[in-house]
Amino acid sequence: MKKMKTSTLRTLTILAFVLLVVVGLAFHTGTGTISAFGYKTISAICPLGSIEAQLASKTFLPQVLISLAVFVLITTLLGRIFCAWACPVPLFRKWFPKKSAKVNAGEKSSALEQSVEHTHENTVSKTSGTVDSSYYVLGGALASTFIFGFPVFCLICPVGLTFAVLIGVWRLIQFNEPTWSLLIFPLILILELVFYRYSCRKFCPLGALISLVSRLNIFVRPKIDQTKCMQTSKGIECKLCKSVCNEAIDLHEKAASSAQLSRCTKCRDCADVCPMGAIKFPFFRKKNDKE
């Protein structure tokens, strides 16, 4: 029941942003898409887009500083909340299931066995100390933008493409404007999600940028109650929380480092899947929690 609640809630908040775009399409509100929502001269511009625009034009744009500051503030307070609660990609990520962990609410026990089978894979991930590839993609995107003089990632940004499809369909109906874009944009989206099965973690440079800033985030971080968790209290191997996590964060690891937790999108999937209800998202950390 509870699981339904959070994921439904998330779907609703994402749809609220989509609705805002539709309002902008129906009326001349100028609200824009999630790339730069705004009212009149104020806009919450995409941090990656604004950095790209400045790199590409080799100019400094003072007006984006305010929205960059707000972005840093929100990310410091709430971490990568954008990725789970506002970005439309998680809506259709469900159609591209993960390889190892297909966890359904009704099949907790079988999923539990499955997760035990995958212990090896699980042990591996972060202990090797490799940095996720999305940071390199971010570097590549910024370098390419600087060299070639236009915002390169915006071309294939899954967020931008999603709304482009929405706008395209709208204009097809309103103005009878058929275009190849309506086939090509979804195709690029599908390619991104297929080739980078975990594209939010491995590919998305926007997610990488937010994660970098999210290292400042100390609030609302997931926390395991050691006395409730099956693995820490009873020694029963259970990796449900990790297998359900899109960022493959292992909360059991003592060294669940700040860098790793900064990738948390606060989607609460782990809290919902935990059979013992051991995971909480307290706003403040208790003092003795600090490593």
């Binding site: 001269t41 511009i45 591996v124 202990t127 090797s128 915002p151 294939i156 706008i167 090509i184």
Partner: protein, 210 residues
């Protein structure tokens, strides 16, 4: 579990190497895709497009536009549309002027909402979106008697010659597009004979404004 972490067995080491290799592969694939996209984007042939006012410096426009859709959304006359794949891979999703749907009254709202100044503040007196040009389907050229564009032009950029054919004054025309919007030629037979109207605003080939 803990044993594994302290003394990784062969499987773990192999899996760890696999993980590193996969990360390396997807990282390099990502970088190559980004650089490739940039290169292809820069090299791809560019069609001159009609931009909203303030976006006439194409290079600086393309450097800054993040395709956020705010200008299109705010436009009160709906003249701002979206470029599609057909206009170029780079240009898809950028704003372009669709004078079949509206015309520009230089209200400045698109410039106001542009978050990156891809549309720069413009001088209403000198800005030129494009220049109107007569086409083969102009009714006045073919049959005479039509003077709708002449009557509609606020800037007195269209005059009539002795045969009552429109003549466009390129200096006075600022490409507002009201002539194209109002032109009745081929409007009612859009699919049979193409969609070209008798007068069209076309992009300026040479950079006139600085």
């Amino acid at each position: 579990m803990k044993k594994n972490e302290l003394n990784p067995d062969k499987n773990t080491i192999r899996a760890s190497k696999n993980y590193q290799r996969r990360t390396f592969l997807s990282a390099s694939a990502g970088i190559v895709v980004m650089l490739g996209l940039g290169f292809v984007g820069m090299k791809s042939k560019k069609k001159k497009l009609l931009r909203p006012p303030g976006g006439q410096d194409e290079d600086s426009f393309m450097a800054r536009c993040i395709k956020c859709d705010r200008c299109r959304s705010v436009c009160p006359t709906s003249v701002i549309g979206v470029a599609s794949m057909e206009d170029g891979f780079m240009d898809a999703r950028t704003p372009i002027m669709k004078f079949h749907l509206g015309y520009c009254d230089f209200c400045n709202k698109c410039v106001e909402v542009c978050p990156t100044q891809a549309l720069e503040p413009f001088d209403k007196q000198t800005v030129k979106i494009g220049i109107a040009t007569l086409t083969d389907t102009c009714i006045a050229l073919n049959y005479g008697e039509c003077r709708l564009c002449f009557e509609a032009c606020e800037y007195k950029a269209i005059a009539l010659d002795e045969h009552k054919r429109p003549i466009i004054d390129a200096d006075k025309c600022n490409g507002c597009g009201v002539c194209e919007k109002i032109c009745p030629s081929l409007v009612l037979r859009s699919y049979a004979g193409g969609k070209m109207r008798g007068i069209e605003v076309r992009p300026i080939e040479k950079e006139v404004i600085v």
